[in-house]
C-alpha cells in the first residue's frame, strides 16, 4: 500500500523508479534533440541556408522523365517531390508484390522432394542474398540497356516493343461506356464474396462443400466479358509508332524502372523465401500427418493446415522485408530512376534548401514505413485470430 506518493517513495518503489528513470531519459533525449534542432536551424539561418518550406511553391525549371501525374518544368518544387514520391511508391509496390510472390514460391519449392528444383532454388537464394543489392541493380540496368537498339526493337505480340530504352506497350484508351464493364465487374466481385460467405456457413452446418473457386472464376471472368462485347468493345488502343528517334504513343516502362523492380523483387524475394521456408518448417510434422490421415489431400493439407499456421510465424519478419524493400528503393539514384531521393537531391541542389529536403525525406520514409507496418500488423492480427 502506497499512501504517500512523494518522490522518495516513488524512488524506493521498483515500478515507480522504472517509470521515473524512463521519464528522465526521455526528457534528456528530447532536450538534446531540441537543442540540436534549434542550433542547426539558427546556424543554417545565419549561413543564409534556410527559410522554411516556402520554396516548395517555387518553379522547378527541370524536367522529369517518368511522371504519374501531370508535371512540366513550369511546375513547382513541391509537385516535383510528389512526382518523386509516386515513383517511389510505384516501384516499392511493384517490388513488394513481386518479391512476396517469388518468395512464397521459392520458399515452398525449396522444400520440394525434387532434388533439381530444390537445388536450383538454393542457388538462387544464396546468390541473390549474398551479392550487394547495389551491384545487382547496376547489373540489371547494364543487361537491360544492352538489349537491341530502338531500330532493332524486339516486337512481342506485334504491338509490344522491347529495346534498350525499355518496354513500350500499347496504352488502353477507355471509352465512356467502359464504365459499365467496370461496374459489372465490381458487382461480380461483391457477389463472389457473398457466395463465399454463404458457402462457408453451409459447410459448417451441413459439411457440404460448394466449389466457390470455380463458380467465382466463371462469374468474374465471363460476365464482364459478355458486357464488354455486347457494348461493342469500348476500348481502343494507343499503339506505339516508330518516329525518328523513339517510339511515340503507348506507354514506356523505362529500363531504370525495370532494373530496379527486378533487382528489388529478386533480392527481397530470396530473403522472403527463407522466411517462408522457416515458417513452414515451424509447423510440426504431426500436423500434416494428422491432416493426411484424416483423408485431406496433399495440397489441401498445405493450404488448410500448414500455411495458416505458418503465416503466423511468417508475417512479422515479412513486414520488415517489405520495409527494407521500400527503403532500398532509394538506391534508384545509382541508375537514375527518378524516385523521391533522386528528385529531392536535385531540388536540394537547385534550391539550396538542404535541411528542409532532408526533413521531407525522413518524414516520407518514416510514414511509408509506418503505413506498411500498420497494414501488416492489422493483417497479422487477423491471421492470429485463426488460432483456436
Amino acid at each position: 500500500m502506497i499512501n504517500r506518493t512523494t518522490l522518495t517513495n516513488l524512488w524506493f518503489n521498483k515500478r515507480g523508479r522504472g517509470y521515473l528513470l524512463q521519464l528522465l531519459v526521455l526528457l534528456g533525449v528530447t532536450t538534446l534533440l531540441a537543442i540540436i534542432a534549434s542550433n542547426t536551424i539558427a546556424n543554417l539561418q545565419k549561413a543564409g541556408l534556410t527559410s522554411g518550406f516556402g520554396f516548395l511553391g517555387d518553379q522547378a525549371f527541370f524536367d522529369i522523365n517518368q511522371r504519374l501525374i501531370e508535371y512540366t518544368s513550369q511546375s513547382s518544387f513541391g509537385r516535383a517531390l510528389v512526382v518523386g514520391l509516386l515513383n517511389t511508391v510505384l516501384v516499392s509496390s511493384l517490388g513488394i508484390i513481386t518479391a512476396t510472390i517469388i518468395g512464397f514460391f521459392a520458399g515452398v519449392l525449396r522444400l520440394s522432394d525434387n532434388w533439381l528444383v530444390s537445388r536450383l532454388i538454393t542457388a538462387y537464394v544464396e546468390v541473390t542474398r549474398n551479392v550487394p543489392l547495389l551491384l545487382q541493380i547496376i547489373l540489371w540496368w547494364a543487361i537491360l540497356t544492352s538489349l537491341p537498339k530502338i531500330r532493332d526493337s524486339i516486337p512481342v505480340f506485334g504491338t509490344l516493343f522491347l529495346n534498350n530504352r525499355g518496354l513500350r506497350a500499347p496504352a488502353p484508351v477507355f471509352e465512356p461506356s467502359f464504365i459499365w464493364v467496370f461496374i459489372v465487374f465490381i458487382a461480380c466481385l461483391f457477389f463472389t464474396f457473398l457466395l463465399l460467405f454463404w458457402a462457408r456457413r453451409r459447410q459448417r452446418r451441413t459439411g457440404k462443400i460448394f466449389p466457390v473457386g470455380l463458380t467465382a472464376l466463371a462469374l468474374v471472368a465471363t460476365v464482364p466479358l459478355i458486357v464488354f462485347f455486347s457494348l461493342g468493345q469500348p476500348i481502343t488502343w494507343d499503339i506505339p509508332a516508330r518516329t525518328r528517334f523513339n517510339f511515340q504513343g503507348g506507354f514506356n516502362i523505362t529500363p531504370e524502372l525495370l532494373a530496379l523492380w527486378i533487382a528489388l523483387a529478386t533480392y527481397t524475394g530470396a530473403f522472403i523465401s527463407e522466411i517462408v521456408r522457416a515458417g513452414i518448417l515451424s509447423v510440426s510434422k504431426g500436423q500434416s500427418e494428422a491432416a493426411l490421415s484424416l483423408g485431406l489431400r496433399k495440397n489441401q493439407t498445405m493450404r488448410l493446415i500448414v500455411i495458416p499456421q505458418a503465416l503466423r510465424v511468417i508475417i512479422p519478419p515479412l513486414t520488415s522485408q517489405h520495409l527494407n524493400l521500400t527503403k532500398n528503393s532509394s538506391l534508384a539514384i545509382a541508375i537514375g530512376y527518378q524516385d523521391l531521393v533522386s528528385i529531392g537531391g536535385t531540388i536540394l541542389n537547385q534550391s539550396g534548401h538542404a535541411l528542409e529536403v532532408v526533413a521531407i525525406w525522413m518524414a516520407v520514409y518514416l510514414s511509408l514505413s509506418l503505413a506498411t507496418s500498420a497494414f501488416m500488423n492489422w493483417y497479422n492480427k487477423r491471421i492470429s485470430l485463426i488460432e483456436r
Binding site: 542550433n39 542547426t40 549561413a47 543564409g48 524536367d63 540497356t145 528517334f245 538506391l331 537531391g345
Partner: protein
C-alpha cells in the same frame, strides 16, 4: 556547439545522398574527412590543417583525371595545386574530394571542402541564394550537344522526340528544359549522376544525344574509341562561365582564391612562365611583374601570405596559358582552341584586374 551541430547536419546530408558518396573520397588521401564546420576563417583552418581540401570532378578528361602515377591532374586540379602552393607553399598538399554535380554544393556548404573547382557555372542563384562566392571565371563555356553522325541531325532544334542524357543538379538540365519549352518540342530526359555514367549510357544508345558544357563534350568525345563517328553540334544554347567558388562571408579566403586565379591569368599576359620565372625573380623592368612576384611592394603581405605566394602558385603548373595548353589545348586529345578563353589582348575575353 555550433561546430557540432553543423557536423551533424553535414552527416545527415551525406547520409541523404548515400548512393553518390561511393564516388566521394576515392582520391589519393583516403583518410576519412570529418566534415569541418563552416567557419568564417577558412584560411586559418587550412594553415592549421596543413592541407587544402579541394572539391573536383569524379573524373573528366582534361579537367580532373588520374594520371599514369595515379595522381589527380587536369585543368581544375591545376587550380587546386596553385592555391595550395600559394597558401601552404606546396602544391602537393591537397586532399581531393570527388564530387558529383549534385553533392558538390552540400560539400562546400558544410565545410567538407575549402574550395570547389569543378566545372561549375557562375549563376545568379548559386552566388546569391546558395550562399557561395565565385572568385572568377577560369573557363568561358556554353552548353552543347553531342550525337552520332548517322543521326543526320545538325541542330538541337531537330531533336523532337529524342532521348537526351543529362547530369542532374546542373545548369545543363535547367537550360535543356528551357530550350525545349521555348522551341515547343518534346524530349525524354535521361538523368545521370556523373560524366562516366553519362558516357556509358550514351555509348549504349540509351540516349540519342548527350548534352553538357561544350568543354565537357570535347573531353568525353576524346575518350571514345570511335570518336570520328560522333559530332559536337555547332550550336551552343547557353552561357556557362566556369570558375572556382568558396563559401560566402569569408572575404579573406575569397580574396586569396580570387587573386591566385588572377595571378595565373596576369602571368600569361605579362609573359611570366614556369620556364623564365627564376630569371624574372632577379628583377625586371616591368613593375607589375615585380609586384606580382614580390620583388617589389607587399601584395603577399596584404593577403596574409608570404612575399613569394604568386611565385609558388606559378611554379606549381605554370601560368594560365601553360595550364590550358597542357590539359585542354590543341595538342591534347581534347583539342580545344582558346577561343573566348584567349587573353583580351589576343582576341578573347580573359581579362584579370591589375596587380597593384
Amino acid at each position: 556547439m555550433k561546430r557540432f551541430t553543423i557536423t551533424i547536419a553535414a552527416a545527415v546530408l551525406t547520409l541523404g545522398l548515400a548512393g553518390c558518396d561511393e564516388n566521394e573520397q576515392k582520391a589519393e588521401n583516403t583518410e576519412p574527412a570529418a566534415p569541418q564546420a563552416s567557419s568564417t576563417n577558412t584560411f586559418e583552418e587550412v594553415k592549421a590543417r596543413g592541407v587544402l581540401q579541394c572539391g573536383i570532378n569524379t573524373g573528366l578528361a582534361g579537367f580532373a583525371y588520374t594520371d599514369d602515377n595515379g595522381k589527380w591532374a587536369g585543368f581544375d586540379v591545376a587550380y587546386c595545386r596553385a592555391l595550395a602552393a600559394a597558401v601552404l607553399g606546396d602544391p602537393d598538399k591537397v586532399k581531393y574530394v570527388n564530387l558529383t554535380g549534385k553533392n558538390r554544393f552540400p560539400a562546400l556548404a558544410s565545410g567538407e571542402i575549402d574550395v570547389l573547382s569543378r566545372n561549375t557555372t557562375w549563376t545568379f542563384s548559386r552566388d546569391v541564394k546558395l550562399g557561395f562566392t565565385f572568385v572568377g571565371v577560369s573557363y568561358y563555356d556554353g552548353q552543347g550537344f553531342i550525337g552520332r553522325k548517322k543521326l543526320g541531325v545538325k541542330s538541337a532544334k531537330e531533336l523532337d522526340g529524342a532521348s537526351i542524357c543529362i547530369q542532374t543538379g546542373t545548369t545543363t538540365e535547367l537550360n535543356l528544359a528551357d530550350f525545349f519549352r521555348v522551341n515547343k518540342i518534346k524530349y525524354e530526359p535521361v538523368p545521370i549522376e556523373t560524366n562516366e555514367e553519362a558516357r556509358k549510357a550514351y555509348l549504349a544508345e540509351r540516349c540519342d544525344v548527350y548534352t553538357t558544357d561544350a568543354s565537357g563534350l570535347a573531353a568525353t568525345k576524346s575518350t571514345f574509341a570511335d570518336a570520328d563517328k560522333h559530332m559536337v553540334f555547332p550550336e551552343i544554347i547557353s552561357k556557362e562561365p566556369l570558375g572556382p567558388l568558396v563559401r560566402q562571408g569569408d572575404d579573406a579566403w575569397a580574396d586569396i582564391a580570387r587573386w591566385t586565379l588572377n595571378a595565373l591569368i596576369n602571368a600569361e599576359e605579362y609573359g611570366v612562365t614556369s620556364a623564365n620565372i627564376d630569371e624574372m625573380l632577379k628583377g625586371t623592368k616591368n613593375p607589375e611583374i615585380n609586384r606580382m612576384l614580390g620583388t617589389e611592394g607587399s601584395l603577399g603581405e596584404m593577403l596574409g601570405l608570404p612575399k613569394d605566394w604568386a611565385v609558388k602558385a606559378l611554379k606549381a603548373g605554370g601560368n594560365y596559358g601553360e595550364i590550358f595548353d597542357r590539359y585542354l589545348g590543341e595538342k591534347t586529345p581534347l583539342g580545344l582552341s582558346r577561343g573566348l578563353n584567349a587573353l583580351w589582348s589576343n582576341g578573347g575575353i580573359l581579362y584579370a584586374p591589375p596587380m597593384r
